[in-house]
Symmetry: C3
Subunit: 255 residues, 3 copies
Amino acid sequence: MSGQNISSQAIIGERVRVGDAVRIYPWVEIGDDTVIEDYSILGHPTAYDRGRTVIGPGSTIRSHAVIYRDVETGPNFQTGHHTLVREGTRAGIDLRVGSYSDIEGDCVIGDYCRLHGYVHVGRGSRIGHFVWIFSSTTLLNDPLPPSHIASPVTIEDGVVVCVSCLVMPGTVLRRGVFITAGSHAHGEVPAGGVVKGTRGEVISHVSLLANLESQICHPWMRHFADAYPENARGRIEELLASILDSRSAYRRRSR
Amino acid sequence: MSGQNISSQAIIGERVRVGDAVRIYPWVEIGDDTVIEDYSILGHPTAYDRGRTVIGPGSTIRSHAVIYRDVETGPNFQTGHHTLVREGTRAGIDLRVGSYSDIEGDCVIGDYCRLHGYVHVGRGSRIGHFVWIFSSTTLLNDPLPPSHIASPVTIEDGVVVCVSCLVMPGTVLRRGVFITAGSHAHGEVPAGGVVKGTRGEVISHVSLLANLESQICHPWMRHFADAYPENARGRIEELLASILDSRSAYRRRSR
Amino acid sequence: MSGQNISSQAIIGERVRVGDAVRIYPWVEIGDDTVIEDYSILGHPTAYDRGRTVIGPGSTIRSHAVIYRDVETGPNFQTGHHTLVREGTRAGIDLRVGSYSDIEGDCVIGDYCRLHGYVHVGRGSRIGHFVWIFSSTTLLNDPLPPSHIASPVTIEDGVVVCVSCLVMPGTVLRRGVFITAGSHAHGEVPAGGVVKGTRGEVISHVSLLANLESQICHPWMRHFADAYPENARGRIEELLASILDSRSAYRRRSR
C-alpha cells in the first residue's frame, strides 16, 4: 500500500483494511472489520467545523467514495463506488447506498434501508426503516427553486420507490407506499398506496400488486427474508401487519 | 502530500493548495487562492492538441474531478466531486457545477451560473448569465441520434431549469424562462414562460408563480440576493426588469 | 509515475501505458497498446472467486474507472471517466461506455456498441451489435422490486435508445427499433418500430423518420459510416437491409 494519507488522530478499529491512496481526516472513527477501498475520502471537511465522522463496524466503503465530516452510520454500512454522503447525515443499521448516489446532508435514514445507484437524496430528507429506493430517483426539497424554502421529503417504514422517480418537495410517503418506475409523487400518500404516473395518482394498494408470471404478491417483505438478518424478523412482521391493515382504509377511500 | 504528479511547466498561483494524488498537465494555469482536491486531473489531454487550461483565482476543484485541456473559467469556479468538464468550454465568473455533472465540451457559460449534480450539458450548448440548472437535467444536441447534425441548446439570462428536465436539441429558452421539474422543453420558449409537462407547454408567466405557503413570488432574483456578490446587484436589477417586462407580451399571447 | 499498485502476476501487453495510482489485480490481462488512466481499478474482487479480467488490445480505460473481476472485452474497448463494469460481463469489438455509466454484471454486449454517459444497464441484459444507448437511460431487470425475479432486457442489432429512457424489465427490442428521448419501452417492440411516450406506443417505422431541416433519413447506418471501420461495412449493409425489410410488416400492422 502506498500514498495513504491517514491522520494519526483518527480512531481506526481492529482488522480494518485500508486501500491505496485513501485520505482519512483526524475527526474520523472507523469501527472494527471495516474495509475502505482505494481513492476514498473519509471525513471531508465542511464549510464550518462540525462533529466527528463515525463509520459503524463491519462496513464497506467502496472505491472513490467521499464521506463528509459529521456523518454517523450504524454497523454494516455499505457504499457503492463514487458514492457521496454529505455532512450532518445519520444512518441506522445496514444502510446500503449504491454507486454514484449523493446523500446531500442533514438526512436521517433508519435501519435496513437500501438505496441503489444514482439516487439523489435532497438535504434534510427523513427516511424510515426497511425502505428501498431504486436507481436514478431524486428526493427533492425546494418547492420553488431556487429559494430558501426547505421542504424536505418524509418517507416512512417499508416504502419502495422504483427507478427514475421524482419525490417532490414536502411529499410524505406513509408506511408501505409503492411508487412505480418513472412516477412523480407529491402531497401525502396514504399507507400502502401504489402511485403511478407523473400526476402522482394512487391507483391501488400494495397488497393487491402481483407479478403475473410468478404469482408472487407484494408486500415484498414476506418473500424477501434473505435480505435481512434473523433478528430483524420481528420488526418486519410487525411492519407487514401494519401495511396490510392499511388495506381496509384504502378500500373505504376507493368506494 | 504524496503521489502528486504536477508538471513543472504548469503555472500555479499564490496560496494554491493541491491535494493528494493530483495530476496537473504542463498547459495548465491555476489562479491564486485556488484549492485542488485529491484524485483530480487538470488539463486532461485531448485527441488533438488544443490550448491552455486556465482556472480563475479563488476556485475550488473538488475531489475526483476531471478538467480537460482547453478549458477556461473565470474567478471563483467551483466544482462538486467527480465533476467532468470537457475541452473547449469557456465559463464566466462564479460558475458552480455540481457532483457527477458533465459539461461535454465547446460550451459557453456566462457569469454567476449554478449547475447542480448529474447535470449533462451537451456539446456546444450556449448558456447566459444567472442561469440555474437543477440536478439530473440534460441539455441535448442531436436531433436525430446518432447523427452528425449538431443542434445545441441556447439558454438566455435568468433561466431556471428544475430537476430531471430534458431540454431538446435546438431549444431556445429566452430570458427568465422557468421549466418545472420533469418537463421537456423544445422549440423557442418566449421570455418569462413557465413550461410544464413532457409536451413542453407554456402554462404561465414566471412573475405569476408563487409558493402557496410562503407567498414568496418569483422571479427568484428579488428574494435571493445572498447568492450573488454586491457588485452583481445592478445587473440583476436590469435582468429582473427585463423579465417582468415580458409579462405584457405573455398576456397578449394568452388572450 | 507513482503510487501504482500493479500485481506482478497480471499479464500486461506491449506498449501499454498505465497512469498514476492505478490498481491492477493478479487475474487481469491487458492487450497491447492499451491505455489505463489514473485512479482506475482493474479486476476489482468479487464476493465469490470468479474468472479472469481480459481487456482487448487498443483499449482506453479512462480515469477513475472500476472494472471488476471476470469481465472480458474485445479490442478497442473504451470507457469514459468514472465508468463501472461489474463481474461476469462479456463485450465484443469496439464497445464504448461513457462516463458515469454502470454495467451491472452478467451482461452480454455485441460488437460496435456505444453507450453514452450515466447509462445504467441492469444485471443480465442482452445487447446485440451496432446498438446505441444514449445518456441517462436505464435498462431495468426486476418486474416487481424488490424481488428475486430476474427479467432482464433483450436488445437486438441496430437498436437506438435515446436520452433518459426506461427500458422496462423483460422488454425485447427487435432489430432496428428506435426509442425517442424520455420514453418508456415495454413488452416486445417489433423490428424497426419507433417508440414514443411513457406508454411505450409504437408510432412509426424507423425508415420513415427524417430530420425536417436536413432531410436526412434514418436508418442512421447509411449516413454514419465513419463510426465504424471499413471491415464492418458488410455487416452494416446486411443489418440495414433487414431493418428496411421490416417496414412491410409495419405497414400491414398499421392498416
